[in-house]
Symmetry: C2
DNA sequence: CGAAACGATACGCACCTGCTTATCATTTGT
DNA sequence: ACAAATGATAAGCAGGTGCGTATCGTTTCG
C-alpha cells in the first residue's frame, strides 16, 4: 500500500487491516462487527426508533430486526415501546450491554494503539481529525 | 462520525464517503470500482501472473478471470503467456488502458482534493502517511 | 371519522463475496 | 520419465447486502 495511492484505496487498506486485527477481539467476546457497531451507537445514547438506528449505522432497516433480536436475546439491548408513539420501539443498552461494550471497546483501543505505534501523538490527532472531516463531508 | 469513534469506524466512514463521491466518476467512464483497482495495479507495472495480481488487489482469483475478460474485451488490458512459464499469463495495460486509467485517476484526484478542502498541506501529508502506515502494519 | 402516512416485521430477489472442487496444460522435483 | 505441484479456467455453494413488497398496528390530518 503506497503513500501516493488513491485516498480511497488507502482508507480501504487501513480499514481492512484494522478490521482484521480487531476480529479476534470481537470473536473472543462473541460479537459480530455489526453487533458491536450497534452497541457503540447505543452507547452514545438510546435510539428513539429502530429506523433511526438503522440510518445512524447505515445498516438495512429490515435486517436490523434480526440483528436486534440476537442482541436482545443475549440480554445486551432492550426494546421498549415509545410511550409517545407506540409504533416506535426505543432501543437502549442494558446494564450488561453497556459493560460488554465498554470491555470490547477497551480491547479494541489497545489493538488500535498497537497499530498506531510509531506515530507521534500529533500525527494520531491529525489522523483522527482528518478522517472525521472526510467522513462528514457529504 | 465523531472524532473519538473507533479508528476502524472512522476509516470505514471516510472510505464510504470517498467511494460515494467517486462513483459518478467511475460510472461516467464505464468502469466498476474493481475494474479501476485492476487498472491502478497494472499502471504500477504489469502483473507476472493473474494469481499474483489477485493477491495484490486482494480479489478472489477465480473471480478475477471474468473481471479480466471484460477489461480485455474492452481493450484496456492484454493477457500474454509468460514465455518463461507458459502456464502463467502476464497481464499488462494496453495503451488505451493506460490512457483511460490516467484520465479516471486525474478526475478522482480532483474529487479527493475537493473532499480534503479545509485541511492543511501538512495535515494531508500526515493523513496519507498514517493511512499507509496502518495499511502496512500486518 | 376515515384515508393516508409511518414504524416494525416477514419474506423473497438479485447481486456480490470468499471458498471449494474439478479440469487441463505446463512445469518441477526426484 | 513420471508423479506432484502450479496456473488458468469453469461451475457451484453458502452467506451477506441492499432493495422491494406485503402485513399489521398506530398515528396524523383533512
Amino acid at each position: 500500500m503506497n503513500e501516493d495511492d488513491d485516498l480511497g484505496a488507502l482508507c480501504a487498506g487501513a480499514g481492512r487491516a484494522l478490521a482484521e486485527a480487531e476480529r479476534p477481539v470481537l470473536e473472543r467476546h462473541g460479537l459480530t462487527m455489526w453487533q458491536y457497531v450497534v452497541l457503540s451507537a447505543l452507547a452514545a445514547g438510546a435510539a428513539p426508533s429502530q429506523l433511526v438506528l438503522a440510518q445512524q449505522i447505515r445498516y438495512d432497516k429490515t435486517r436490523l430486526i434480526t440483528l436486534l433480536d440476537a442482541l436482545e436475546a443475549a440480554g445486551l439491548v432492550a426494546r421498549e415501546p415509545d410511550p409517545a408513539d407506540r409504533r416506535a420501539r426505543v432501543v437502549r443498552l442494558t446494564t450488561e450491554g453497556g459493560r460488554r461494550h465498554a470491555a470490547v471497546r477497551a480491547e479494541i483501543r489497545e489493538v488500535e494503539d498497537g497499530k498506531l505505534a510509531g506515530l507521534s501523538v500529533e500525527a494520531r490527532r491529525v489522523l483522527r481529525s482528518a478522517l472525521a472531516h472526510l467522513a462528514n463531508t457529504e
